[in-house]
């Protein structure tokens, strides 16, 4: 996005490499956020796509609201079938999908920035599995005493604690992190499978849908929960964006520039856990959104740094599109959306890995 007039080859060689143009967005006297124009453009594109996917979610299919009726329906003039679809069926589902996807995307971006590795993402290293196990355990052993979301949070924190301790190097070494994550996921999955086995069939079916991550039949309460979590966490994440970007260049440089890497890391990990656990508690551990969103964000913006905003938006877009597929694809009936993201994200992860390994030894 260099808007300087075209220069001759000789001149280009002498001139500095193009620096992305930044402009400041100012709010009052104290807040000034540097924004790259290319990022703004990409964000706008993602927002438009998100809008299209949202409209498609509401209008497609047998129960869809006709495209012509949609504007008036959204203004609150829906009646009969349309009102039911908008207020009970697809409206809450869509609103939950947007916030959940955004939370997963942001959570993944924070964690991947801390571990400096695409594989250090919450769903790969067992956070989601832990949250799912926590939720299932609460549902089986303490029904009615604790909300399921608290169980998810406890499970997520426990899983991360175990991973942190068992690597012996904290979150620093990606390889160990991944293997420890697989071990922790295995225990968490075994626990959830036992719960699924132990409860009766109807409940087991619902529980399995939840464990794979489902957006079916969400309520406005769910929407309120996840939006509250998201809106609380986004400002904090924005505060962390710059120091995290600096930290990616190394702890020493980061210290030299006057920030405190240890604190930044702790803050980012905690924020990431809260976001993931919040998302898991309303929609179950939907796989691989927090892995893929930050990776795509990096490729779209071609920028360094954690790309928090872009990951958040892309997470929302990915999940809404996946949920659209889950609702409309005739292949299987009403599968939990997590299965789609797991299949697609798994293939994408395989592609990422093979590509990384094909490179000459780094």
């Amino acid at each position: 996005m260099n808007t300087a007039p075209p220069a001759g080859p000789a001149e280009m060689a002498r001139s500095r490499p193009p620096v992305p143009r930044r402009s400041m967005v100012r709010i009052g006297r104290w807040v000034a956020v540097p924004v790259r124009r290319s990022s703004l453009f990409a964000a706008a594109v993602v927002l438009v796509l998100l809008g299209c996917a949202a409209v498609a979610t509401l209008t497609l299919g047998r129960l869809g609201i006709g495209l012509g009726d949609l504007p008036s329906a959204l203004m609150g003039e829906a009646t009969g079938k349309n009102a039911f679809v908008l207020n009970r069926l697809r409206g809450p589902r869509l609103v939950v999908a947007i916030a959940t996807g955004a939370a997963f995307g942001l959570s993944g971006a924070l964690f991947q920035s801390v571990t400096r590795n695409p594989l250090g993402s919450p769903d790969v290293i067992g956070l989601s599995a832990g949250a799912g196990a926590g939720a299932a355990a609460v549902a089986l052993f303490l029904p009615g005493t604790l909300p399921v979301s608290v169980g998810a949070l406890l499970g997520a924190v426990t899983a991360m604690g175990v991973v942190y301790v068992s690597t012996g190097t904290g979150f620093r070494s990606p390889g160990r992190l991944v293997v420890a994550g697989i071990g922790v996921s295995a225990m968490a999955t075994a626990l959830t499978q036992y719960v699924v086995y132990a409860v009766e069939r109807d409940k087991a079916s619902a529980l399995t849908a939840y464990i794979n991550g489902s957006l079916a039949a969400r309520s406005w309460d769910d929407a309120a929960t996840i939006w509250t979590v998201l809106l609380l966490c986004v400002p904090l994440a924005a505060l962390l964006a710059r120091p995290l970007g600096i930290r990616e260049m190394g702890d020493d440089l980061s210290t030299g520039l006057g920030s405190r890497p240890a604190r930044i890391t702790t803050g980012a990990v905690l924020l990431s856990i809260v976001l993931s656990a919040g998302a898991v508690s309303v929609a179950g551990p939907i796989a691989f959104v927090s892995l893929t969103a930050p990776q795509i964000a990096k490729r779209v913006t071609r920028g360094g740094g954690p790309q928090l905003m872009m990951s958040t938006l892309l997470g929302a877009l990915l999940l809404v599109v996946a949920d659209l597929a889950a609702q409309q694809l005739p292949l299987f009936d009403n599968l939990p959306v997590g299965l789609y993201t797991m299949a697609v994200g798994g293939v994408y992860l395989g592609y990422l890995l093979v590509r990384e390994w094909r490179r000459p030894v780094v």
Partner: protein
């Protein structure tokens, strides 16, 4: 991520003389006998040890005989699966020179499961005799795929194969769940099978997979000297007159046979194949001939004890052996992680 190829950590330099070895064999045999006895003894009806002994030696009243004999298939199945998984794990760790290789982690079990579920749902396959073939095909395909992904671009580190296995397992899990959830009848069978349980199966489960297990085991024993040569590196092995490619291919084939047999018999059980070789290496060192023999002794003991624990913990309910092994074996994995060296 791209650490140079890490050779499997050679076991501690244990070299036991004949006396030491016989002692080790005796201890393992005693443990196995204890495990067998415990497995027959525990169940929803508590039976005192003296009564069990009376039945085994041919006495006891008819009622007691029926109760105790109903537990035989479960025990035999445990022995068979334990042997299969342990030897499969030893083979895979030897062939890939990777201390984290294991049928569960490398996605072989997931491949077998996916194939069985698909065959049950779409082709109406049922009964042990047919499922075992499907399990075998799925396990083979998964094994080849993981090896291909994990060694893409040359070289392989322990973590690479594990990642490739995890990726494949995730995609296959999505497929399995999709099929299971859209067909309630499949789902009902599936959720009992997938946890990996020894109970509720008869001797026919044993007979249908026994041939595969025997072939795999014999192949493993034949391959042991070749694996020893392979442990010194491909070039050394070649100069010793051993074709690395042939040994690797045959080793993976044997490992696949064994894990497919185990999965078809009792469902996917993880971590036995990981934990047993590590235990055995600390016991007898790096010689694969000894490793395989001792895996045969230690594997069943571990699996049977896990099964007994599962039955005793929640009596009269029971915890499936797959759940117990996950909680016993995953910590073994975590310990192995702590001991991993280098940047991997």
């Amino acid at each position: 991520m791209t650490a140079p190829t890490a050779p499997a950590r050679p076991g501690p330099a244990v070299r036991r003389g004949p006396a030491g070895l016989s002692l080790a064999v005796l201890v393992c045999l005693a443990l196995l006998a204890l495990a067998l006895f415990a497995s027959v003894m525990s169940g929803s009806k508590q039976t005192p040890a003296a009564d069990i002994w009376r039945v085994i030696t041919g006495g006891g009243d008819a009622y007691l005989r029926t109760v105790v004999e109903s537990r035989y298939p479960r025990t035999v199945l445990g022995v068979l699966t334990g042997v299969c998984l342990a030897v499969a794990g030893t083979l895979m760790q030897g062939v890939t020179r990777n201390p984290l290789a294991e049928p569960g982690i490398l996605g072989i079990n997931a491949g077998a499961s996916a194939s069985v579920v698909a065959a049950t749902a779409f082709l109406g396959v049922s009964g042990q005799r047919d499922t075992v073939w499907w399990a075998l095909a799925g396990a083979l395909v998964a094994g080849v795929a993981v090896y291909a992904i994990g060694t893409a671009g040359g070289g392989s580190s322990p973590v690479r194969l594990v990642l490739a296995g995890a990726v494949l397992s995730a995609v296959l899990a999505a497929f399995i769940q999709a099929v299971a959830l859209s067909r309630p009848r499949v789902f009902d069978t599936y959720r009992y099978w997938v946890v990996g349980a020894l109970g509720g199966r008869g001797f026919d489960a044993v007979w249908s997979v026994l041939p595969f297990a025997v072939v795999g085991l014999l192949l493993a024993l034949v391959l042991a000297p070749g694996l020893n040569a392979l442990a010194m590196g491909d070039d050394k092995a070649a100069s010793l007159g051993v074709s690395p490619l042939r040994i690797k291919g045959a080793g993976l084939l044997a490992a696949t046979l064994l894990s497919a047999a185990a999965t078809a018999a009792v469902g996917p059980i993880a971590f036995v194949g990981l934990a047993v070789p590590h235990l055995v290496r600390t016991l007898v060192g790096a010689d694969f001939r000894l490793q395989i023999v001792f895996s045969v002794l230690v594997g069943p003991s571990l699996l049977l004890f896990a099964d007994v624990v599962g039955r005793v913990l929640l009596r009269p309910e029971e915890l499936m052996v797959g759940v117990v092994t996950a909680f016993v074996g995953a910590p073994a994995l975590l310990l192995a992680v702590r001991r991993m060296r280098g940047a991997a």
